[in-house]
């Protein structure tokens, strides 16, 4: 672990900060609620990795979507994601946000979450064990290091398309666009 390497800290404090202090906003959509508590409490203790749950999306920089996303939840997921401050990372937990999982034929769950918000990493499995969260976190560190955890940049660049997809599912959105068209040069 290079948490203790001073040279890296001096070279890019921001980058290192983002790596080792991941404030998570857990969006416990369904099944995820069952493996998140073990991972943040005594047995697995996510705080060792600097992963700490916070109360509001404003304070967070990691978004963990734990489980299937129904249409009603999607609205909340998008709002939460848009409220978070950049740089922000989103990780899908479980098979369901990847491609619908076992609810692939349900009329009320969206099958591919990355059509609506950019996702930086997936944790596959149903249910993934708590260890999987930590593997994901360490992978995310590598991604941040290589600067390919750039979901928030993609969201900014292709906001038009994301918004179009969101509107297709949710109908008219009641909040204004995060990045208005005329803002772009």
């Amino acid at each position: 672990m290079d948490r203790n390497q001073l040279t890296k800290w001096i070279k890019s404090p921001g980058n290192m900060g983002h790596k080792y202090s991941l404030d998570v906003v857990y969006f416990c959509t369904g099944c995820g609620i069952i493996e998140i508590p073990p991972s943040i409490t005594a047995r697995w203790d996510a705080e060792r990795f600097g992963v700490k749950p916070v109360a509001t999306p404003r304070q967070a920089n990691l978004f963990l979507i734990t489980g299937y996303v129904s249409v009603k939840t999607l609205k909340a997921v998008i709002r939460t994601y848009e409220q978070m401050q950049e740089p922000k990372f989103a990780v899908g937990f479980g098979s369901c946000p990847i491609n619908g999982g076992m609810y692939w034929d349900s009329y009320n769950t969206v099958n591919h979450l990355d059509k609506y918000i950019p996702i930086d990493g997936w944790i596959a499995g149903c249910m993934p064990r708590p260890e999987a969260i930590f593997i994901a976190v360490t992978h995310l560190w590598t991604l941040i290091d290589k600067e390919i955890a750039d979901g928030y940049k993609r969201y900014r660049d292709k906001y038009k398309y994301y918004r179009a997809n969101q509107e297709k599912v949710l109908g008219e959105l009641e909040w204004p666009p995060l990045f208005p068209e005329d803002d772009k040069k």
């Binding site: 034929d105 009329y107 009320n108 099958n111 990355d114 059509k115 994301y162 179009a164």
Partner: protein, 174 residues
Amino acid sequence: MNQELKKKINSSFPSAKISLPNESRVVIEVNRDAIISVLSFLKNMGYEHLSMVSCVDWIKEDEFELIYFLNAYMENDEEYGEIEKSTILLKTMISRKEAKYITAIGIFASAEPYEREIHELFGIYFEGHPRLTHLLLERDYEIPPFRKDFDTRKYVKEFYEEIPFVEDREEGKE
């Protein structure tokens, strides 16, 4: 014994069809006008607990079947006799074309969310219900999703699968 229960109900409601599938279930079938009076009759008999209201879509018969599940509450588990132990399934049929019914909230307050759910998922309108708004779903479907003629797989294919990936959009595959 449940035979006694059967007699009691039959004396008040001669039209009710009663069957006893096993020792702790009583199935009562009544026609659609009688349900409120039967419900209040059963409540007075001690079946105070409405566990659930369910609905089945019998599409071949072109009818919805509404089922009320009733149980008895006793203070002590030793007080339960044969009659109190049984669950009553009170059934009625309503036509699919005219999916309208009367609410049971006046008798059982706990029927409220169940009726709301049935309204949402099966499209049955309950007259006298104070808030028949969305409960579980966010948007309207053309056919209420739990009806048998709503094909969820087809719906998923036509709706969700049609939405393109953002990367594909950029390549002009819109």
